[in-house]
């Protein structure tokens, strides 16, 4: 099936399973995994970031799964959004996945923004589709153009400057769209940056992050670049975490 291809590919690239500890990883599948004892191999995880298991209370996030039909549908709806989000795949009527990364799809954008933004209407007030399309493309390209570490920058500090540039471009794109100066707070900036990072499809983001992490010293814990880098790191963690649960869930079905 097409999905598993994608899953396999992303596992290979990101080494998702290595990033988080096993007792968390097995959690979503606990209720319905009936594997023979021998087949379950537990690789010793190399923890890149230590994370607590997510404690999510918001109403759209389905917390438990016990084989119940409604719960299954909730999970499906939730993670379908993430699947679309991560790989820009759309499910057509026959249930096949198709690649639509170069298509503009208003429903997709709306669903993503609904998923991400606290009050999407504030950022994207009932705009005509053309306008949404333009700003969507702007957002999509801004990170791509400005964060392209493979071609342009080799040292950690250059890469960090690229991240700052990307934030600057997000500002410009949103300001052009809303025609006023935006005063970001993290509540709004975080989801928007998440959106941009995922859409910009950076190759080997995990490796890039680790590279910067390893080659900067303790002084990087303070300053504007530090908060930006921390935010980027968190994006990566967050997406992998959510996507990992999705994959587990998908395997069960």
């Amino acid at each position: 099936m097409a999905t598993s291809e994608y899953n396999l590919r992303s596992t290979k690239d990101d080494k998702i399973s290595d990033l988080f500890d096993n007792n968390y990883v097995n959690k979503p599948g606990d209720h319905s995994q009936n594997e023979p004892p021998g087949s379950e191999h537990q690789p010793q995880p190399v923890l890149m970031f230590s994370t607590a298991p997510p404690q999510v209370n918001d109403s759209t996030y389905p917390r438990i799964f016990q084989g119940n039909c409604t719960e299954a549908l909730n999970w499906r709806a939730y993670y379908e959004n993430w699947l679309i989000f991560k790989h820009s795949l759309m499910v057509d009527n026959e249930g096949n996945m198709r690649d639509s990364r170069n298509e503009f799809n208003p429903t997709m954008v709306t669903s993503l923004l609904n998923l991400l933004l606290r009050e999407p209407a504030n950022h994207w007030p009932n705009s005509p589709p053309a306008k949404t399309k333009r700003s969507f493309n702007e957002l999509k390209t801004c990170f791509h153009e400005h964060y392209n570490p493979k071609d342009t920058s080799f040292s950690p500090i250059e890469k960090l400057f690229q991240i700052r540039k990307a934030f600057h471009e997000i500002n410009l794109a949103v300001e052009r769209f809303r025609r006023e100066v935006v005063q970001w707070c993290m509540d709004d900036l975080f989801p928007l940056f998440l959106f941009v990072v995922i859409r910009s499809r950076i190759q080997h983001l995990g490796a890039e992050i680790n590279f910067i992490n390893e080659l900067t010293d303790k002084n990087m814990e303070m300053g504007e670049l530090a908060i930006m880098f921390t935010t980027l790191k968190l994006m990566f963690m967050f997406v992998n975490l959510e996507f990992y649960i999705f994959r587990k869930f998908h395997d069960i079905l």
Partner: protein, 210 residues
């Protein structure tokens, strides 16, 4: 670069501290900080990411304290990501909305988590925002004060809208912070290899290899 040491231009002693803002979304975290930052005598440095990262200095009698303020995403969904933000922080301000009991219980959760996981010696400050809406008050001052005393926190009720207690809050924090070299950022900045330093390793290697 923004994280260069700035102690040379300021008064004889200057300290830099990392301050993290925690709290449910829409309790007025960023308004509180913007009010503080813009209302000060020193003009503030515009940052690329707006109110998500700000710096501001407070002048005390004997020292200048520079705060580096990190905003965090308050939504429940991103809760598990917060430890990365408050790692290495010297101050944490936990904000709740006095018109909502929910935000207060969320704030208590944050505080418990901070006491468990944050770096030792972190100054935690509980702030009830929006006291201009006194008629809709749901969280009693006495209740919050009692909780703060019990846990050894700084406590203040503020209003970002009318600027009540905002500057006082940051001055109180600045006074409470320990002012020694090991916690100040200016001390950290001098780390690294000194090329002209006399090698000390030779004199120390007297243990076993002789």
């Amino acid at each position: 670069m923004s994280n260069k040491p700035t102690n040379s231009a300021l008064s004889p002693k200057s300290y830099q501290y990392k301050l993290v803002l925690l709290g449910e979304s829409a309790v007025g975290k960023s308004s509180l900080v913007l009010r503080f930052v813009k209302g000060q005598f020193h003009d503030y440095q515009e940052s690329t990411i707006g109110a998500a990262f700000l710096t501001q200095s407070v002048c005390l009698e004997d020292a200048t304290v520079k705060f580096e303020i990190w905003d965090t995403a308050g939504q429940e969904r991103y809760h598990s990501l917060a430890p990365m933000y408050y790692r290495g922080a010297h101050v944490a301000i936990v904000v709740y909305d006095i018109t909502s009991q929910d935000t207060f219980s969320r704030a208590k959760t944050w505080i418990k988590e901070l006491q468990r996981q944050a770096s030792a010696g972190i100054v935690i400050c509980l702030v009830g925002n929006k006291i201009d809406l006194a008629d809709k008050k749901m969280v009693e001052t006495s209740e919050a004060k009692a909780y703060a005393d019990e846990n050894g926190l700084l406590f203040m009720e503020t209003s970002a809208k009318t600027a009540t207690n905002v500057t006082e809050l940051f001055i109180a924090i600045a006074k409470k912070l320990p002012k020694n070299e090991s916690t100040s950022h200016s001390g950290q900045m001098r780390r690294g290899i000194e090329l002209n330093a006399t090698p000390q390793t030779d004199s120390q290697q007297t243990g076993c290899c002789k």
